[in-house]
């Protein structure tokens, strides 16, 4: 099972995305976002990115999702919608689950899956140690490169976030 852990985690990832895309109340959307964040962290960690995975937990789940949860709790209604309360929501959720199950069966049974790129069996998801970078961890080097060679990206992203806040304040301010 451990060789196919990334595949299993990716299936849980897609299922939780289906869970919030079928639009229950935002509180329940936040619940599956926690699950998908944790599972996404697991996927990144399996590729060797322990720093980025912990960043997902800390900043995304521990910062942004907490604020989202508080604001949603302030704005929630008396009987929020669950997946089983509304026929439409349940129908869409089951449809997404069905499509994912069919895709998984197609991947497991068939020799090769060629949707946009070739994917030959579950073995493609197993992580092999190529051992190119030696003692250095690639993802820490990547993060360091973001702040040295990628200074322009940091500036642009930072400016986008600042302008995002300004835009949101402007839009919700009203007249």
């Amino acid at each position: 099972m451990m060789t196919y852990i990334v595949f299993i985690l990716s299936v849980i990832f897609v299922v939780s995305f289906v869970g919030f895309s079928s639009k229950p109340s935002p509180i329940y959307g936040g619940l599956v976002l926690i699950v998908s964040g944790g599972v996404g962290c697991g996927i990144i960690m399996n590729f060797g990115g322990s720093f980025l995975g912990l960043m997902v937990f800390l900043i995304y789940l521990g910062g942004m999702l907490v604020v989202f949860g508080y604001t949603t709790a302030m704005a929630t209604e008396q009987y929020p919608e669950v997946w089983v309360s509304n026929t439409t929501v349940m129908g869409v959720f089951l449809l997404g689950l069905l499509m994912e199950v069919m895709l998984v069966l197609y991947v497991l049974k068939g020799e090769e899956v060629g949707v946009v790129f070739k994917f030959s069996g579950v073995g493609d998801w197993a992580i092999y140690d190529t051992g190119d970078s030696g003692v250095f961890s690639e993802e820490i080097m990547g993060v360091a490169a973001l702040y040295s060679y990628g200074a322009w990206v940091v500036i642009v992203t930072g400016w986008s976030l600042l302008v995002g806040v300004l835009v949101i304040l402007e839009v919700t301010r009203g007249d």
Binding site: V116, F117, W152, V153, V156, T157, W159, S160, V163, G164, L166, V167, E170, V171, G174, D175
Partner: protein
């Protein structure tokens, strides 16, 4: 809106387009598109009524979908070519998805439905920015990936856009919707020649922007958003009736005016590449556009449109200041004799 915030947000719209046009990394291009989209939303919502909010929501939803498709095409390109630089797109699937994404951003058929509704719901100045500046960024990306675009898809979208732009504008009396359908048709002309000669696409874009700027400035000057209020221009500033006449006929592509230059060059380039039915069809469908421009000129400058008697004796309030109107009018009508200078572009 607070002037400082407004300036910041407007500069961010400019910055977003500049980042798209200057970057060589696909991710930066995507970031530029998102920055552009994010910053133009409050500009579209300058007045706070439900109409503008609905229009900005529609704009946001369509453009965000297009950005998602663009990101998917970028990732597929990455998987197949292993690099992030802007060159031609190596995989046909990624190329088709990217072309569709950029067509959604430009407002080409079959993704044209948002253009009239969004343009109608916002103020004239915001509509001006929407129809001119926002077209620059997607067109620059189309220019850069033009060697790998699937010809059939692009030409189908172009011809259908010219058709929709012509037919859709026929029953309109609202000026902003007329400008929106005109934009759809002009985008069709621009993308039709993209694979054959991208330089002509840029030429058409330049002249289209000049003419649309002129038209919007004239509308802002007389504060008119319907055909009826435009027909009262003879009473407010009689000179602008002539200018509206000239600019509208230039937009329709009539020969002694500069709007003819891109159409002429495009038809010439298409016939040089042995496609004759296509430019014939395009030229015939451009006549539909010319019809509703001529109807506007008829009601504005050629006749005194029927109106109530108090409309004929209007108060002269303080004139709005319009930026750069005389140079724009000159450039959008008198550039045709300069056509031989196009040989310096190659």
């Amino acid at each position: 809106m607070n002037p400082l915030i407004f300036t910041t947000i407007l500069m961010t719209v400019l910055l977003g387009t500049m980042i798209v046009m200057m970057s060589s990394h696909w991710l930066m291009i995507w970031i530029g598109f998102e920055m552009n989209l994010l910053a133009i939303i409050p500009i579209l919502m300058k007045k706070y009524n439900p109409r503008t909010m609905e229009a900005s929501t529609k704009y946001f939803l369509t453009q965000a979908t297009a950005s998602m498709l663009l990101m998917m095409a970028i990732i597929i390109n990455l998987m197949h070519s292993g690099q992030w630089t802007i060159t031609k797109v190596f995989n046909p699937t990624a190329s088709i998805i990217m072309t569709s994404a950029l067509a959604m951003k430009l407002g080409l058929t079959p993704f044209h439905f948002w253009v009239p509704e969004v343009t109608q719901g916002i103020s004239l100045t915001s509509g001006l920015i929407l129809l001119t500046w926002q077209k620059l960024a997607p067109m620059s990306i189309l220019y850069q990936i033009s060697p790998s675009i699937n010809l059939n898809i692009l030409l189908t979208m172009a011809v259908l856009s010219i058709l929709v732009g012509g037919w859709g504008g026929l029953n309109q009396t609202q000026l902003r919707k007329i400008m929106a359908y005109s934009s759809i048709a002009h985008m069709g002309w621009m993308t039709a020649v993209l694979v054959y000669s991208p330089t002509l696409t840029m030429l058409n874009m330049l002249i289209y922007i000049m003419m649309t700027l002129t038209m919007f400035m004239l509308f802002i000057h007389s504060s008119s958003t319907t055909t009826l209020s435009l027909s009262h221009t003879w009473n407010k500033t009689p000179l602008t009736t002539t200018l509206i006449l000239i600019t509208l006929l230039s937009m329709g592509g009539l020969p002694p005016l500069s709007g003819f230059m891109p159409k002429w060059m495009i038809i010439q380039e298409l016939t040089k590449n042995s496609s004759i039915i296509l430019p014939t069809l395009m030229a015939i469908m451009a006549l539909l556009n010319l019809y509703f421009y001529m109807r506007l000129t008829y009601s504005t400058s050629l006749t005194m449109f029927p109106s109530t008697n108090n409309m004929k004796m209007k108060w002269q309030f303080e004139t709005k200041r319009i930026t750069l109107l005389p140079p724009l009018i000159v450039m959008s009508s008198l550039l045709l004799p300069l056509t031989p200078m196009l040989s310096i572009l190659d």
